[in-house]
């Protein structure tokens, strides 16, 4: 008995009052549940309006309706092809739109709206097929390309990817407002013929043409959307294999087969539901397990379970190269070649990838040029193998001493390593901090920043080393090769070497593929010998997919995930 409790004399457990109160409480509880049920009924009706799965199949594979359900990593930020810059928008656009050329199942260039094309000196002529149609039935004409390209070059439109059109005559000047937009070298000679005049002849222009920024737009439709082109499913006109029939922002998107598509016979799926928009890896895996989506990318901790379950695992190189860039500005210590050589000799990308990052599908970096790039005949990295450094701490110490002598220092002051705020960049930075301290007694100060702030510091040169990454825009080594050209604004370490610049010029202007590849080989060698950067890794992705869905392709360029050739294998 708790006689000391002052409340006990008022209300003791088991007395009348407590019993009555208990009963009363039970009544309230029932009422509360009733209220909850009523509210949920109301909310149910309300939520139907913002649904992620309204009228959609609940299963990942719907054999009856020939439909698959999957996800998008984020809401596509920009479906207007003139303004789109990101991978998710690019992926959806590759399903609902088609340019003059596109990439086939094996990353080869094939005709899209263009039936054939020809490069003749400065001019490239495209002959359009006459059965290409918009989703409203109108023909896709050469004017639709001329309009889209010229429109996005208008200064007021403010397209961030306008630079990818700069090989076209007067494109840069028009974007600059120096010449009228009509002087841009794009002309629809007739409905079916588009003539493009280039500033100078370039060998890889056809590969750039497949980029999203080169997609067409129907002018009459575009004008009628009043600046909302691409903002909603009905604010766009489609000429690709699929068309968007619904888009609930942030929640879901539905694509249905486009009956007006000229090559509709090639498309075997009737519809694709993007029923979820989330980048959370464990949510996606849970949705996959629950048979709600047909595929999901895996994190390292999920790999074991995936193998135990016997799921269909696939892997692809996502295309981006990650590397540690040095600051080459003369006032920085890292401008010293011997210091960079010392660091290169203790840097071991294999150890970083296999013992530290340990993510499935990642490949130790060897070069600025990733493994998948095409060469003159076949594969660039096979034609020009990347030279690498072997870890040699003794030799590294010799280089470090030379560097200290040249710099007139007894001991190296701490270096700043600028990096991102993701888990991978954090463990990578800590690993480097440990490696350089242990083998060379170099102190690294880690400066972790969110994306835009890191970018600002990179541009301002506020770093010694920076964890950087570079993804391709088109299927040619030049998309990486000109990165360290002295005039390239993305060369944020301000590396400046006339010998490298000369090779970049050859790669840009030569029409001979073999000569261009030789130039890239030379660039690769200079970057290695001058230790311009330290290659870290190439990102790969391991993913699970539904056993009944076949023909899913994943591309480095264009649609990251491509369902246009996919089909459902029935009868399981």
């Amino acid at each position: 008995m708790k006689q000391t409790d002052p409340t006990d004399f008022v209300q003791a457990p088991g007395d009348n009052l407590t019993r009555a109160a208990g009963k009363q409480l039970a009544v309230y509880a029932v009422a509360a549940i009733a209220i909850l049920a009523a509210v949920m009924f109301l909310l149910n009706a309300l939520a139907g309006m913002t649904s992620s799965a309204a009228g959609m199949s609940r299963m990942a594979v719907d054999v009856e309706n020939n439909t698959i359900t999957t996800y998008l990593r984020t809401e596509p930020p920009q479906m207007n092809s003139m303004l789109a810059t990101d991978a998710v928008s690019g992926m959806v656009l590759a399903h609902v739109m088609e340019g003059l050329l596109r990439y086939g199942p094996d990353d080869e260039l094939v005709g899209g709206v263009a039936e054939r094309w020809q490069l003749d000196g400065n001019t490239m002529t495209f002959w359009l097929r006459d059965d290409a149609r918009w989703s409203n039935g109108e023909a896709v004409t050469a004017h639709d390309f001329e309009f889209a390209w010229k429109h996005l070059l208008e200064p007021t439109v403010g397209s961030q990817y306008a630079f990818i059109l700069y090989p076209i005559l007067n494109a840069e000047k028009a974007n600059n407002g120096e010449v009228p937009i009509d002087d841009v070298g794009v002309e629809a000679v007739d409905e079916r013929t588009l003539v493009v005049t280039l500033e100078t002849p370039i060998a890889y222009f056809d590969r750039m043409i497949a980029f999203v920024t080169y997609l067409p737009a129907n002018e009459a439709f575009y004008q009628q959307t009043n600046g909302r082109y691409g903002a909603d499913a009905d604010e766009m006109l489609y000429n690709g294999p699929f068309m968007m029939t619904s888009w609930v922002h942030g929640a879901s998107m539905q694509l249905e087969k486009n009956p007006h598509y000229w090559d509709a016979e090639r498309i075997r799926l009737d519809a694709i539901n993007f029923a979820h928009m989330t980048s959370d890896a464990s949510t996606l895996l849970n949705l996959f397990k629950d048979d709600q989506i047909v595929m999901a990318d895996l994190g390292s901790e999920m790999l074991e379970e995936a193998m135990l379950q016997g799921w269909t695992l696939s892997q692809f190189m996502e295309g981006t190269v990650f590397y540690t860039d040095f600051n080459h500005r003369p006032e920085r210590l890292t401008a010293n070649l011997n210091l960079r050589k010392a660091m290169a000799l203790v840097h071991d990308a294999g150890e970083l990838v296999n013992r530290v990052i340990k993510l499935p599908g990642y490949l130790p970096g060897k070069s600025l040029f990733p493994v998948w790039l095409p060469g003159a005949e076949d594969n660039f990295r096979e034609e020009y193998p990347a030279p690498t450094y072997q870890r040699d701490v003794a030799q590294a110490k010799v280089y470090l001493q030379r560097a200290l002598d040249e710099l007139g220092l007894d001991r190296l002051p701490p270096l700043v390593l600028l990096t991102g705020d993701t888990p991978v960049s954090r463990i990578q930075a800590e690993y480097y901090q440990e490696v350089f301290k242990r083998s060379l007694d170099i102190d690294l100060v880690i400066d972790a920043q969110i994306f835009r702030q890191r970018l600002e510091k990179m541009t301002a040169g506020d770093f010694d080393l920076v964890a950087a990454g570079w993804g391709p825009d088109y299927n040619d080594p030049l998309t990486f090769g000109d990165l360290y050209a002295s005039w390239n604004l993305n060369n944020r370490g301000r590396y400046n070497n006339p010998a490298l610049d000369a090779q970049v010029r050859i790669a840009q202007s030569s029409l001979d593929m073999a000569e261009r590849m030789q130039a890239f080989g030379e660039i690769q060698r200079i970057i290695h010998e001058d230790v311009v950067m330290l290659p870290d890794y190439e990102r790969g992705i391991v993913y699970v997919s539904h056993p009944q869905v076949r023909g899913i392709r994943r591309h480095v360029i264009g649609a990251e995930t491509d369902f246009t050739n996919a089909w459902i294998e029935a009868g399981e």
Partner: protein, 310 residues
Amino acid sequence: MFWYTIKRLLQGVLTVWFIATATFIGMHNVPGDPLSGERATNATIRANLEARYGLDRPVTEQYFIYMGNMLRGDFGISYTQQNREVNDIIREHFPVSATLGILAVLFAALGGILFGALTALFRNRLPDYIIMFLVIFGISVPSFVLAALSQLSLVNMNSALGFSLLPVAGWGTVSHMLLPALVLGLGTMAYMTRLMRSSMLEVMSSDYIRTAKAKGLSPTRIFSRHQLRNAVLPVITVLGPAIAAITTGGFVVELVFAIPGLGRYFVQAVQQLDYTVIMGTTVFYGAFLVFMVILVDLVYGWIDPRVRLQ
């Protein structure tokens, strides 16, 4: 009462103006550049973009333009989704967050009051011990752990049952909401249970309950009219901020359960320095919070006659 309401509303407007100004100043002083992308933009493209968003004007001028537009209810165009207005984003995504939030708050308030009263009635006995243990659990486990764990158990349960009892993630029906709302409301429910328990205990030992008992009121009446009504006051006080916090604080839950709510935009906008969306969502949420606090103060006066005079 009328003048009190007017006064509070005017104070609220002033608070929202202050929030807007502080956000505007803070946002423009954060290092980083809303127009920068992975690809460096040349001077031409940059100038074109700056002109499009009015960033080429002096900051003070931008401030007055922005405030003018805001007064007219126009929050501008998003930087990351260049063809969507911030108003559209709020209009389309706030109802989702609010729906989820209402359900979560209902869970929290009803559960908190009931469990709190129960533990007080049965203090130091088994129901009290069990519930208070769960309360500590609910307060200390963060929502992202809870969200991931509950989702995982749901997957395992669905696969054990052979059919989908509840959907794993997504949005659309009330079955999509149940688990996220519970996860979202659990922390608040635990907090309210503790609050309710202590205030109920205090009320139970007060003099007026003894008086009520002495003058022979029925136990049911004592409990519902005197004990519960007095004890619930502190819970009501925290309800306003809790509603605002739950409807805005669902970022993690929205991410894990793939819910198209405003919370995601709110957090992502800051990361991407999407100026207009930061301003729009902050001002909107700020106004919402201020309004909820005022509303609670008014409701308080209605529930507790003692504060009506002030």
